[in-house]
Amino acid sequence: MLRFAFNRLLQAIPVLLIVISATFFLVHSAPGGPFSADKAVPPEVIRALEAQYNLDQPLWQQYISYLGDVLQGDLGPSFKYSGRTVNELIAAGLPATAELAMYAMLVALIIGISAGVLAAMRPNTMQDYLPMSAAMLGICMPSFLLGPILVLVFGIHLEWLPVSGWGDIPGDKILPAITLGTGYAAYIARLSRGGMLEVLSQDYIRTARAKGLSEPLIIFKHALRGGLIPVVAFLGPAFAGLLGGSFVVETIFQIPGLGRFYVQAAFNRDYTMILGMTVFFATLIILFNLLSDMLALWLNPKLRQQAGGDS
């Protein structure tokens, strides 16, 4: 297992390098620069600004010096937010995003797995149709629709919960967590139902049933571990995605997270910010994919043997 992890981390180095290079040249070739503005910008101002951020050097030179900085953990200054560094901005946005991601994932796992398992226990009965229809509703209820509806109902009409904010007013974390978690819950419900159905038709479960074990014991002790493999494969990228920030939910609820930074940076052509977020995001994805693969190995002993023999 350790060797597997070490190998994957080694492989991560070229991946990160390719991601950085591709993004670097991608953002620099996108039309419109970081300093274009509504009002005409005099050429001398553009020159001064470009000199200050080293944008007047040849592109390859900028590329080399950027790589050098990234190696030292310095993601550079933000072009848009005068005086802020990218490291500082990511550090400012990460806590809210991570906290939101955690709550949303909790909501998703609890609702999703319960619904999926319930449905798989009695396939093609009401106990299956009801949670699965609800899950489908959750999927086709995108956050840009669910968020405002929850806000209108619970925030404006019932006045139970705040309509926006993050840690400013008690209770302002509930609606965003539910909004963001619902979509994932729906996915997890579908995937865990599928996985459980696969497992429940396996021979060892039949054996367990034949031995007269109680149904909950079979589900929790024997089936869940195998049945959740598809969920685990989905979990890694999903959680990394959540940590990249959810632009829509963060915007609706006015949450100071990474998603807003990322989209704003793309729109502002804040080159260093886009690059920095990408590097950060790529690292997260690699880590979480690794974690979810390791978890899948742990859940499936057959694969474990084979991965041990992997180069």
């Binding site: 996108a30 039309p31 419109g32 274009s36 503005a37 509504d38 009002k39 005409a40 910008v41 001398e44 101002v45 001064a48 600004l49 200050q52 200054p77 848009k80 937010y81 005068s82 005086g83 802020r84 400012a92 946005g93 709550y103 909790l106 909501v107 796992l109 609890i110 405002p148 925030g155 404006i156 919960l161 705040p162 309509v163 926006s164 904010g165 993050w166 400013d168 007013i169 008690p170 209770g171 302002d172 974390k173 509930i174 967590a177 014991l217 929790f220 002790k221 869940l224 571990r225 195998g226 915007t251 609820f253 006015q254 100071p256 997270g257 930074f261 704003q264 502002n268 052509r269 859940l299």
Partner: protein
């Protein structure tokens, strides 16, 4: 080999999750007072501020949200009356203007202080204005200084000695400014943040004078001369300012605190306002305005705004080279319908570029909604009934409001002129690039006045004006604006010259005026002394909070 998850593991997982979720839910219950009523008690104004400020350096910032924060932190020589916008004493308690209108002498208050208690005097202005004119600083508002003698020459590097620029501190409390030409709007400029003073010792503590992006504007560092001082700045979350005890007029400031919220999404901001989380929101979604109006909600304040929405025409486009075609396009936009049915916030149909009433100026325009005459013009230009007119594209930057207008105008041109128009929306930076490269045919545009004078609108269309971007160039027009208007002896003469110039512009129609903006504000009834004005500029030192049911600051 069978999978073995002990029951305890999975049930532990569920238990832990449930506990966490419950704590999340419980930790949050408990009744809470909303921001507005709490703010009314503590003297805290909760202000919806649009977007995250890019910078609080008055010589670097350019946007409206930045402006609303900077005016609380800093102040210029002269203030404007919050209703009439007439000049009022600020840091300068009085001033004299020479008979030829070129030399201004300002007498500063002796009790003006920086927020750290340092004395605030005339030398601060000389140094600050020198700083603002350093090209390396990248001040986009440097042109606000160009009415001062030699300021433009210094900025463009033609002269290198700042002594020759018309700014002098005669003594600690007397500042003399010499202008190039008599400039009737000069006093107004002094209230624009690009002419605000900055605290030299603080700026230099964190970098050189002309260095961008130093940390001097952060909380704990920044020193200003305004009614408030910065206490907290959390990115994408809030900016908090509190009373500045050293402000010269501190006794009359009644707010204790202002909390600014950066909310990009207008719909979210409106909901925050409705839920009592904000005292003020500066953007009201168009479709919500009707609701507020039909409820006769006193929170909705609509005021004229010094800005015009128009379409630029790239006059180098083959089918748009003929001014008859451009006039025909301008004459078939039914502006009354647009403002009443789509914009819905009392916007005024525009038939000229300068908003009517700007410094007593009322443009004369022969532009009308007249489909009959427009069809004739189009036929004269070689496209009877729109036949053979190539498909033309309207470019706009991605936004719901621009989309709605473009969709409606597309149909109007189709209906009245029988020409095919396609729409193209581009993301903001791509749009800016396309417009400045003149890679468009018809493009959406808007202009908000920096100061109240027709010049601010009309000098956009000079041949080499940076914001012209239409390819239209008329030397006679340039001469009127640059020479005749600058040398005009009386106000009336000057306005007559502008009238003549604007007629010239409208006859050629490189731009199609569409409507004059309004500012739509939602203001909680507990906010007193909030006065609407055509620059939509709040005066935080006058505002106070008083809830009608007795809650008192």
């Amino acid at each position: 080999m069978k999978p073995q998850v002990p029951v305890s593991t999975s049930s532990a997982f569920f238990t832990i999750s449930l506990i966490l979720l419950c704590s999340l839910l419980l930790g949050s219950c408990g009744s809470s007072e909303n921001n507005v009523s709490k703010g009314n008690r503590t003297g805290t104004l909760h202000w919806g501020n649009g977007t995250e400020p890019q910078s609080l350096d008055p010589h670097i910032a350019t946007g409206v949200p930045e402006h609303k924060i900077i005016v609380a932190l800093m102040e210029g020589l002269v203030l404007k009356d919050s209703k009439t916008l007439e000049p009022r004493p600020g840091v300068a308690e009085s001033w004299e203007i020479s008979d030829d209108g070129r030399v201004y002498t300002f007498h500063l208050r002796d009790n003006a202080r920086w927020s750290n208690g340092d004395p605030h005097n005339a030398h601060d202005y000389v140094w600050s204005w020198w700083r603002a004119l350093q090209p390396a600083l990248g001040n986009l508002y440097a042109y606000m200084y160009f009415s001062i003698e030699n300021a433009k020459e210094y900025y463009e590097g033609e002269i290198s000695d700042f002594e020759q620029v018309g700014v002098k501190a005669l003594d600690d409390l007397t500042l003399q400014v010499t202008l190039k030409n008599p400039t009737p709007y000069f006093l107004q400029l002094l209230d624009h943040y690009s002419l605000y003073p900055v605290h030299q010792a603080t700026v230099e503590k964190f970098g050189t004078a002309d260095q961008r992006g130093t940390r001097w504007t952060y909380e704990g560092n920044i020193v200003g001369n305004g009614a408030f001082q910065l206490r907290d700045w959390k990115i994408n979350r809030r900016v908090v300012v509190e009373r500045n005890p050293y402000y010269w007029n501190a006794d009359n400031v009644r707010l204790n605190e202002i909390v600014y919220y950066p909310t990009e999404n207008a719909i979210t901001e409106e909901r925050m306002f409705r839920a009592g989380q904000l005292h003020y929101s500066g953007t009201v979604p168009a479709d919500k305005i009707a609701t507020y109006q039909s409820n006769n909600d006193p929170a909705l304040r609509i005021d004229p705004y010094l800005g015009v929405y128009f379409y630029r025409i790239n006059v180098e486009t083959p089918q748009l080279q003929d001014k008859r075609v451009r006039r025909a396009l301008g004459m078939t936009i039914d502006r009354d319908q647009l403002t009443e049915r789509i914009l819905k916030a009392g916007q005024i149909p525009a038939y000229a570029i300068t908003p009517p009433g700007t410094m007593g100026y009322y443009p004369e325009s022969d532009l009308r909604f007249d489909p009959e005459a427009a069809r004739q013009l189009l036929a004269d230009a070689g496209y009877p009934n729109g036949e053979g007119f190539p498909s033309t594209e309207i470019l706009y930057n991605t936004s719901e409001g621009h989309r709605k207008l473009a969709v409606a105008i597309q149909q109007m041109w189709k209906k009245h002129l029988n020409i095919d128009v396609t729409l193209l929306n581009q993301e903001w930076k791509v749009y800016l690039n396309s417009v400045s490269m003149k890679d468009y045919q018809i493009g959406r545009a808007g202009w908000i006045g920096d100061y109240v004078d027709p010049n601010n609108f009309l000098d956009m269309f000079l041949c080499n004006g940076g914001n012209n971007r239409t390819g239209w160039c008329n030397p006679a027009y340039d001469k009127l604006i640059l020479e005749d208007a600058a040398e005009a002896e009386t106000h009336e003469q000057r306005l007559a010259i502008f009238t003549q110039a604007e007629k010239m512009l409208l006859a050629d129609m490189p731009v199609i005026p569409i409507y004059i903006y309004t500012s739509n504000n939602l203001v909680d009834p507990s906010v007193k002394n909030f006065s609407g004005n055509i620059l939509n500029q709040p005066s935080f030192s006058e505002i106070y909070l008083e809830s009608d049911n007795g809650g008192q600051q």
